[in-house]
């Protein structure tokens, strides 16, 4: 497993037509310890997804570098670390079945070790494995996306609001599933969300960002243990401590974004 050392010296969206250049990041630094779960929380449109894309190597148009650290045995350089990315939309190939979608992301060795069936089974999609994604419910599609991400045995798992726009019961089941999957197959997780309750339940560490260019305004450990994460009372206590005591930036209602005002950014 590897951690992350993120150093973005400069990232801007270039000017287009009458829209001026927009500076998103300047001298932004973030280190993520191997095996930790970091939630990145902040107003819409401030550039959190852009950060994930830069880490994933999808957006290379920036000054700075993203290094993976640690991982392999002592003194060894980590072999090129594997990234998995769970996007806001499941991004499954609609013309391939669930099983094929998972299998296509794996290498020959992983296929030989039966990881497809193992993770399809772990996310509870064995019955639906030979269906095409569009025939599945939205919740099941997200399960398939989780199976694909974990089956690739990632060192670093990037997640961009993976449980957004689901009903609360489904989202909760998927969060529990994510905890189960991480227990089976640990990974370093960088998780973008708006949902403060989700953050408390899942994350070891909360990074709150805001501003333009983006800066870290809060960096706290949450540190619920495995049973605390599943305990509503323990979660509520931590949530109250972190979000309701004179902290104006985020409205502490699960999944809701701040209503109006300067914080409602571009989506």
């Amino acid at each position: 497993m590897s951690g992350l050392d993120i150093a973005i010296d400069r990232k801007a969206f270039p000017a287009v037509g009458t829209t001026a250049e927009r500076l998103l990041y300047r001298d932004f630094r973030l280190s993520v310890e191997p095996g930790s779960f970091v939630a990145l929380i902040g107003p819409s449109g401030c550039g959190k997804t852009t950060l994930l894309n830069m880490v994933a190597g999808l957006d290379r148009d920036f000054v700075g570098q993203v290094r993976t650290v640690g991982g392999a045995g002592p003194g060894e350089a980590p072999p090129s670390p594997r990234f998995a990315y769970v996007f806001q939309n499941p991004r499954l190939l609609p013309w391939r079945t669930v099983r094929e979608n998972v299998a296509l992301a794996l290498d020959a060795d992983q296929l030989a070790r039966g990881l497809v069936d193992r993770f399809v089974d772990l996310v509870g999609l064995t019955e639906a494995a030979d269906q095409h994604p569009e025939r599945l419910s939205v919740g099941m599609q997200r399960r398939a996306a989780l199976a694909r991400a974990f089956a690739t045995e990632p060192d670093v798992l990037l997640m961009d609001e993976p449980f957004v726009s689901l009903d609360e019961a489904t989202a909760e089941r998927l969060r529990l599933l994510l905890l189960d999957l991480l227990a089976v197959r640990p990974a370093t997780v960088l998780f973008v969300t708006h949902d403060t309750r989700e953050t408390v339940m899942l994350a070891d560490r909360l990074i709150e960002v805001a501003g333009n260019p983006v800066a870290i305004v809060r960096d706290v450990r949450i540190g619920l243990d495995a049973s605390g994460r599943r305990d509503a009372t323990a979660r509520a206590a931590v949530h109250a401590r972190l979000f309701t005591e004179g902290h104006p930036v985020l409205v502490p209602v699960g999944g809701d974004r701040p209503a109006g005002g300067a914080l409602e950014g571009r989506r």
Binding site: Y85, N89, R91, L93, L104
Partner: protein, 256 residues
């Protein structure tokens, strides 16, 4: 689509097609009887000509020759045109540069391409096949370019993150998205290609349906001309129904 009512509506559509074709033959028979001339032979005379040339093996041989040319030039045009379309759709710079070339190629009359190929490469099989393929390539390229411009960026990023090889990406991510565009150009392509193949054969080959038509034209044998034409229409329709349509259905099976 594969519901019970779908099957019965397909059957009724086939039924209507048969009725309308029978009516066409009837009109033809009546007209031929009224005119009573060699220039418009009756359906029976055409059938007799078809039977006669089938018995000697001439008709099946020439249809097979022409079909072979159609298959080779059609495949070449689809592969080359598809590759060009994909490249232009993905690279705006290349598209800006080659767009003019494509417009020129689209507007060259088929006959000019055929004549130039025969002049430059001689009256050879290669020249004949190239001439047909060159006529079709720009159409395929233009259609596939539209599809390539609309390729999903989301799926492209997914394929990048999960390290798809270029081959895997082409087969599982790109081709399924291009399938409707390839199907559209295959449809129109087949119709165009076989007509051009006949012209190519007429001008510079010594076998094939086009050559036979030329021969019977000199003999003023309209019944045989119609017999060859109808035989080839049947073959092309069979390809459409037995190969293209099932392929399209298979490619669309995943749709809800």
């Amino acid at each position: 689509m594969a519901t019970g009512s779908g099957v019965s509506s397909t059957l009724s559509r086939i039924g209507w097609t048969l009725v309308s074709l029978a009516a066409l033959v009837a009109v033809w028979a009546v007209a031929a009887a009224l005119i009573d001339s060699r220039v418009l032979p009756s359906p029976a005379a055409v059938l007799a000509a078809a039977v006669r040339d089938s018995a000697t093996g001439e008709l099946p041989y020439n249809v097979a020759i022409t079909l072979g040319r159609v298959v080779v030039s059609f495949s070449l045009a689809m592969v080359i045109g598809g590759a060009i379309g994909l490249a232009l759709g993905r690279s705006p710079r290349a598209d800006r540069f080659f767009d003019g070339w494509l417009i020129v190629l689209l507007n060259i009359p088929a006959l000019v391409v055929i004549i130039l190929c025969y002049v430059w490469f001689g009256l050879t099989e290669v020249a004949a096949i190239s001439a047909v393929a060159i006529n079709k390539i720009p159409n395929v390229a233009v259609t596939v370019r539209e599809g390539a411009r609309a390729l999903s960026r989301d799926l492209d990023e997914m394929a990048t993150v999960y390290r798809f090889s270029w081959r895997r990406r082409l087969r599982h991510v790109v081709m399924p998205q291009l399938a409707p565009f390839l199907a559209a150009s295959a449809r129109s392509g087949l119709a165009l290609v076989w007509k051009i193949v006949l012209v190519v054969e007429l001008l510079g080959r010594s076998n094939g349906v086009g050559f036979q038509l030329h021969l019977y034209f000199q003999l003023f044998d309209v019944a045989s001309i119609l017999a060859y034409a109808i035989a080839f229409i049947l073959v092309v329709q069979a390809i459409e129904i037995l190969i293209l349509q099932p392929w399209e259905r298979a490619a669309n099976r995943w749709r809800r």
